[in-house]
Symmetry: C3
Subunit: 193 residues, 3 copies
């Protein structure tokens, strides 16, 4: 029995989360076009998907209570393996939002690729948001349209991100400004000092 899928291995993996979180995740997964194993954690309000005709894919991901995914007609929201969205995180995807692998998205985060409304007589603007692998977004951040966040970047709590963030850097504030590089700083939040 060299197969990696022995019964004991499956059982030990299943024990990582309570059974009800797999069950909730499975119910949630039916709103996804393509998906791995989804875990829905934290009870009510259950994560909510409002899909007006777009595409929604996820790897093995965890969604906490109150998460809300709004996908427009032309929207394509993609969440990579090993990433999670913590409580009450909201993603508005009218065109394209891609979240990489092993991203940590904290609670109360808002990610939007659209203004949702026009300014004066201009058309409504959408610009894709890209969040690369291993990005950590602190609680209550707002990530606005057109932003690319590079691999391994860290966004401090309460930031509003309106510019591209280079990989392995730490940014914070409203609007977010450069704080430090990942390797030269003790802690992203403290660095805000």
């Amino acid at each position: 029995m060299k197969s990696p899928f022995t019964v004991s291995r499956i059982i030990s993996r299943l024990k990582k989360y309570p059974f009800r979180e797999y069950l909730s995740g499975w119910i949630l997964s039916r709103k996804f076009s393509r998906h791995g194993i989804l875990i829905a954690t934290g009870g009510r309000p259950f994560p909510k998907v409002i899909n007006k005709g777009g595409k929604l894919t996820a790897g093995n991901c965890q969604f906490y209570s109150g998460v809300r995914l709004e996908i427009g007609k032309q929207g394509y929201l993609e969440i990579g393996n090993g990433s999670y969205l913590n409580r009450n995180t909201l993603i508005v995807c009218e065109e394209s939002v891609s979240i990489g692998k092993n991203c940590k998205i904290a609670w109360d985060v808002i990610i939007m690729d659209s203004d949702l409304h026009p300014i004066a007589s201009s058309p409504i603007l959408h610009k894709p948001v890209q969040i690369k692998d291993e990005v950590w977004i602190g609680c209550r951040c707002i990530i606005l349209k057109g932003v690319t966040i590079g691999q391994g970047a860290v966004i401090a709590a309460g930031s509003v991100v309106t510019k591209n963030i280079p990989p392995f850097t730490i940014w914070g504030g409203a609007p977010a400004k450069f704080i430090a590089n990942v390797n030269t700083v003790e802690s992203p939040f403290f660095a805000l000092q």
Copy 2:
């Protein structure tokens, strides 16, 4: 049959929103001193009005779930025709908050005309908030007491507004700063760059 209120016209208008949103809006409207047709959208938690004896009027307005209106004894909260308050928006009105016509108030916005508490031995300060017609307030903004926001102004997501905002300008940040004029900018959020 020249009357604008033909049966077919009424029916087509009623179809704009689901019937339950009119019904919820009608239940909500009983907390208003004067009101047009109110629409309550988005289910629970139902919009909440906590009126300690003030006055609350609205035109034809839409309120999303989680909206909370707190009106003090001397408060006068007025919301113009065609405006909406999105999810979880909170208005604290101890003296006077007036919102104009066709305003777009996004989700998680806080509007307060009072500090609610005194500083040291001073009295509690209230100053009226005026939001003129066609103002667009982005998600998760905080509008503090004494602020007047001019017609057609746009407040970028996540801003804290502590000063008067001139008409047809775009402001953002915490505290909010001038970004651009409405006619000269591609998009208010992008302009934050």
Copy 3:
């Protein structure tokens, strides 16, 4: 009958809050190691304590709906007499968070003494948060690890506090900056201008 605990005095004190708030507070108090009279105000969602093995003490305190206290294995969260936490306030305590007496913590406040995640290969950083007596924290503030807020200080709405705040001063913004002294300013929010 010189005793201060005459029946009439007890009754008048009990009348300050509805009976159900005492009852909810008593249910809540069973999650505390040591506590005075707790009041749980505002109905659902009921305040939530997630204690992984730490210590949680409070004097006579008031907790509004949606408050969430997360105490880690080594955490010690202490809340002084006469303080309250308003709606949806979140405290994350992995090491030590102490809140003094008569503090006013407004709604949607986040207080964290930990990053909760490591940066790169560093260990996860915790640093104690101290909030001294009579501090007033405005709505939707974020107080980050290692911060001491001096007695009687005022933090304006929507601020992100990353530095120590001296006593009797007013700070605001993201990140928070000095605005004024408590005795020289008309109002903390207006002072942000």
